[in-house]
Symmetry: C2
Subunit: 387 residues, 2 copies
């Protein structure tokens, strides 16, 4: 199997954007090409686009062809869209990775994009319901916030995790986002603000939840030979894992405070990389809700099971701690344009491992992890390493 | 790169189905598992689902997780949906192929599914418009039928192709479909019926077009080791190619009677397989409209450019001819449930190369090709071979 690296990355401004779906593609695509002067659109042999619901938000399918044309790319070996709800972007990176690892392609752009905010706010909220089981869950109101609230309640009951712990995740990620010019929210947040924000699904308050965001991100993935020719600082894909516990909430066999699929996906990625949790310097984890980040600390092995609340409280997931988690601001501070999220996570790790993350730079970051989930039962983990 | 084979396949009944999206998944999934007694759902390490617009037709994203749960599959390494308009299914097979070829997975189901017929017929028609550029083409009525009609007009002007040639493609494929119990149409058709059917977009009449169909299909893709353990008649993936000329009709640089992306995709697949057009015994080509099949004969090298009309007229694409094209009835006779089509093509080649195609069997078929396109400018070709 051939070695594969990221050689370029770029993101659009995230937020409530007065931009079309195509505008967002242009913005991230251009930023990505600008990051690798040696690559022109016509040099790519493939394009993969991660996007969840353009059929609903732009009345448009056939997304990779639209994006290829918008960016002047003429794929000669690979063109596809991937959809896996909130993990669509990372699933796209894995498509390109497998193609290059197998020797079927050499230089592929992976772009993630979502235009969620519609003129009618209710429409955006309604559309988010397509991610859970329509017939058995969404129709009865069991959308993402109440699902993750159940996990939070269980974690509190089982391990003594507190509302303040959840609040501290919000404070950390909103503070990180204040140093990210592309983030949806840039004002930071105090613990009082987070704990005083309105309740969404108990115990999760507004500032413990990711917002409905428009945005796009892109990375360029290359074979070893191409990577070495294009840059002296490639960011290697060292490991990857994906696992599923279940789709419907009732299929998750253990209690909701345990996410065994995340544990298995992480273990598979660590094994492939020959690395351990203690080797990780920077992690982009899927903090769609604060409880998700706390459980991610545990299942990814950064701390013991049940100690996620204490982990954030002690500052161990912040600068100066064991591992800097969500330096770009996470989904909570940076925003969560579904298909773009996994690609934006990879773009952040790419910048961090090259020492180009500016005010957000994690000192001497050498190993980075991304964790992207689609619901509580399905998880994708990538491990990246510099030379 | 590891060798990869199909080891199982199954399809649902195609047609205007009183079935949900999930019902169709169950029907094709069960048929596929029934075809390989040695494989239980829990033995699979991955699932890829090709589907275009469940967001519109079932208000549902996150499709591979829904399908995994419906079928009892617990993916341990790969789960994703692929969308590439009408080529979504073949693009899904390529995802699984790359994962297995790279050594990242061993046994993966690829399922294609689409529930297009809605209670309101107008809604189904409207939804099909998501496949072309919404802002610059669909909004002005330039949907699929007029695009392909332009290609047909050009082919007639340039090469003397006639309405009768298009009609003969309709007759052949409707006749083939009459031997396929899963086909949408099973009554066959005479040339008079085809040429007397109502005009859709001149010169293409109703029986020269594929219908709006519900259906699903599934195949199981395996590494060489697993394939040899599971069956004594694996169907090997010998070659694959994909290429893009453009998305918008105005981007196709040559005249519409030439599809250079199909030529390039085919040449890449032949090169990889070490085979030539004359080696092909059976081909499933993307006859969304009769002109598409005629151009496919030419660009895939079964005849010279411009001779596609004469090729069908001489019976060279039928039983007893050079290559049997669309034995299951093609998109025209069997139906075209977008995401399912590419997988159903693979399922037909699987049955043909194993000698299990019953009344449709192409005698001693050893090499099969599938061609799946998404618009006139984007094409995917697979080449399969028996031991």
């Amino acid at each position: 199997m051939r070695k594969v690296a990221l050689v370029g990355a770029g993101v659009s401004k995230f937020g409530v954007r007065k931009a079309t779906y195509r505008d967002l593609i242009w913005e991230a695509g251009k930023a990505c090409f600008d990051s690798v002067p040696g690559v022109r659109p016509k040099d790519l042999d493939g394009l993969v686009v991660g996007s969840v619901m353009p059929e609903r938000t732009a009345f448009q399918s056939h997304i990779s062809s639209l994006a290829a044309e918008a960016l002047g790319i003429r794929p000669s070996t690979l063109s596809a869209r991937t959809e896996h709800m909130c993990a669509s972007g990372t699933v796209g990176i894995r498509y390109a990775y497998a193609f290059i690892a197998a020797g079927l392609a050499d230089l592929v752009m992976v772009l993630g994009v979502e235009k969620l905010n519609q003129p009618q706010g209710e429409e955006a909220i309604l559309n988010m319901g397509t991610g859970v089981d329509r017939e058995w869950e969404a129709a009865f109101g069991l959308t993402a916030p109440p699902c993750f609230a159940l996990a939070a309640q269980r974690h509190m009951a089982e391990y003594g995790t507190t509302e303040q712990h959840f609040g501290l995740v919000g404070v950390k990620n909103h503070t990180h986002a204040s140093k990210n010019p592309n983030a949806h929210f840039q004002k930071g947040a105090t613990l009082d603000q987070v704990l005083g924000s309105r309740m969404i699904a108990s115990p999760l308050r507004l500032f413990m939840c990711s917002p409905i965001t428009d945005g796009a991100a892109a990375v360029i993935v290359a074979s070893e030979e191409r990577a070495r020719a294009l840059t002296d600082r490639p960011v290697w894909i060292r490991g990857t894992g994906q696992a599923l516990d279940g789709f419907q909430l009732t299929s998750l066999h253990e209690d909701y405070a345990h996410w065994p699929a995340l544990k298995r996906a992480g273990e598979a990625a660590y094994r492939m990389a020959g690395l351990e949790p203690k080797d990780v310097d920077v992690a982009e984890v899927h903090d769609c809700f604060a409880i998700a980040e706390i459980i991610a600390y545990e299942e990814l092995g950064f701390c013991k099971k049940g100690e996620g609340g204490a982990f954030v409280e002690a500052g161990r997931s912040d600068y100066g701690g064991d591992v800097v988690v969500n330096p770009r601001g996470g989904l909570m501070g940076c925003g969560h344009p579904l298909g773009a999220t996994g690609v934006a996570q990879a773009a952040e790790v790419w910048a961090q491992l090259r020492g180009e993350a500016g005010a957000r730079q994690v000192p001497d970051a050498a190993v980075g992890v991304t964790h992207n989930n689609s619901g509580m039962g399905e998880h994708v983990v990538m491990i990246y390493g510099r030379e």
